[in-house]
Symmetry: C2
Subunit: 344 residues, 2 copies
DNA sequence: GCGCCACATGGAACGGGTTCCATTACGGCT
DNA sequence: AGCCGTAATGGAACCCGTTCCATGTGGCGC
């Protein structure tokens, strides 16, 4: 039920017929304008656009779907929607799909059973025209699903042969941190996140950051004095910060430089450094990773990941397939960027 | 594009026409069977259902929407989707709506700007046939939205005059905790969660639990020796546990009974009790609140909230409005249930 | 046996887009 | 001026359920 905004009088929601009549053209022309099927004269297009604006017309998405025989919907499968990373990823994805007049349906599937329920379900899986999967390793079930549905698919934050992918180059990220750290005075240290091994997700992130970091440091002729680990949780992060600082104090003392491979770790370290009356960026130089929203405010030197951009480009890969593009699988690699601020 | 499962040969997805032909009836009859419009003879219904099964037919939701002139979609607005509480709430909501052949669109809107963007948006807001709002306080904007769209609305985990509501009775929850705690030996203590005052959300939860608890304890002729607060975060919870235990040790000593008004607090307390070599359920009796998934495993005595049930009933309230029910706003109250386990 | 009514059923019209074919308009060429 | 080809355009047919009206059926009462 639609009601006119101004008058409050009940009136039908305008249809493409109304627009066509208002603009003095045929419905086909209006449809062509809406979908950018370019065979429309400029003047005609303007008339139509004016009529659309005048009537405050919005095309009915359901009618479009049934007429077009497509759902104009993309399924996005990801572990959770509330972390910084996925919020930004969705931002990029949604921007791109919106431009192309596709809807996005988001499925937060945190465990294998939910993922498999999705992949096995007719109703859900057949509904979409395309599939975006973030951070998942490809299971056997996925391959069956893909074969069955023939759905164009793109992987984000993951890599596999034979599928379009967009992923962050964490090795380069670690390398950038390492190269910069090698130029700083004092002993070198690192804290890594130890991820519980879940086959379901791509968990090479921290291994990659580590590989890049160690290689770069070694390449600069320096050595890493100590490496620590922590789980991804504030309490554990604070503990590992304590351990590290105790060790440095007991050893050669300050200054030192620490690559904290996630901003969560870097933040906890920063807290502990301050709590001990030490000066960040002087006694203890800290390089984080992620560029969380608070990082700039707290002056944290860290690696910024172009996550929105990655999402946008992933969507483009999928859209090109939906537009009929054939050819071998493509992979897009994205590089983090070092943001030098106060802490290092 | 739909492909037959068995043969792999490309074939059209079956339509209601196909079903009608297969069953030897008219399309109207098939539609009536699908929608339980009861004026169908039992035998005919069976024939139709068999045809549906044989053809593996699923109705096209988009066609249904455009033909029915409704979206058959309910918008669910909530702060986040990943916490235990909302996962369970959604479970109940989705069960009920699925039974009624309604789809659910979930909008996690954590801040005011996003909520207002939703409420102000034509496209989003008009799309749905009904609205479920969880945990939000009603803003001016909501009232305008409701007036404009005339959408049936139900509030969950919140209460307001003039709107259908379903909410958890935290006062009774606190009362149950208090009554039980009053029967236990030793001094009585409590830890409350201090919520930052956000006008956007209903944050009376802990006030209500406190009111119920204090009243019940007083009613049993006992007194609360000390009350503590903590923010909702593991680190702070652990700290407040330390403070409390220190205080008890310095005072009359053990045993004592603690009502930790959220399982997060109770868990941290349990950790600290164990860390100090004390025996939970003996030296320190702990009553939590929430019945998190791990609570049973760790033997935590706590209050279980029938959250799924609340979601289900909230959906029923909305569905009855969608079915044309008139009449004054109704409120459904749900009571937590005490789960006595090892810790108290 | 006849008339009625309630119930059951078939199917046309409809809803709002997309697609495609037939038609028109127009610029360019002889 | 006359002809042609192409770009632009109108609109019918179509997509797939729902709804509603007209038709058909059976049972019941007299």
């Amino acid at each position: 039920m639609w009601r006119g905004m101004v008058t409050g009088i009940s009136m039908r929601k305008p249809t493409i017929q109304d627009v066509a009549r208002e603009a003095g053209v045929g419905v086909g022309t209006v449809s062509r304008v809406l979908n950018n099927h370019s065979a429309v004269r400029g003047a005609t297009r303007d008339t139509v656009l004016k009529a659309i604006a005048d009537l405050d017309y919005t095309p009915n998405p359901h009618a479009r779907r049934i007429a077009g025989g497509k759902s104009y919907t993309i399924s996005v499968l990801l572990p959770v929607v509330t972390t910084e990373f996925y919020v930004r990823l969705l931002d990029g994805l949604e921007t791109a799909f919106q431009e192309a007049r596709y809807d996005v349906a988001i499925f937060p599937l945190l465990d294998r059973s939910r993922l498999e329920r999705y992949l096995g379900s007719h109703t859900l899986a057949y509904q979409a025209d395309g599939l975006v999967m973030a951070t998942y390793n490809l299971t056997q079930m996925f391959n069956e699903h893909r074969l069955r549905t023939q759905q164009p698919t793109v992987l984000v934050d993951a890599y596999a042969e034979g599928v379009d992918c967009a992923f962050m180059d964490n090795v380069t990220g670690g390398k950038l941190a390492g190269e910069y750290a090698a130029t700083l005075p004092g002993t070198l240290h690192a804290i890594w996140v130890e991820t519980e091994l879940d086959q379901l997700f791509t968990t090479r992130v921290f291994e990659d950051r580590r590989a890049g970091f160690l290689k770069a440091v070694a390449g600069a002729g320096r050595e890493v004095k100590s490496e620590h680990t922590s789980s991804f949780d504030p309490l554990a992060a604070r503990n590992s910060a304590c351990t590290l600082l105790d060790e440095v104090a007991a050893g050669g003392g300050f200054p030192c430089t620490v690559f904290a491979s996630a901003d969560l770790l870097a933040g906890a370290l920063l807290d502990e450094v301050r709590a001990r009356g030490l000066t960040p960026g002087q006694d203890v130089r800290i390089i984080g990773f992620d560029d969380q929203p608070w990082a700039a405010a707290r002056g944290l030197t860290t690696l910024h990941q172009p996550v929105e951009n990655m999402g946008y480009e992933a969507a483009q890969l999928l859209l090109s397939r939906l537009g009929g593009h054939r050819g071998p699988a493509r992979a897009r690699r994205f590089e983090p960027k070092l943001m030098v601020r106060d802490t290092a």
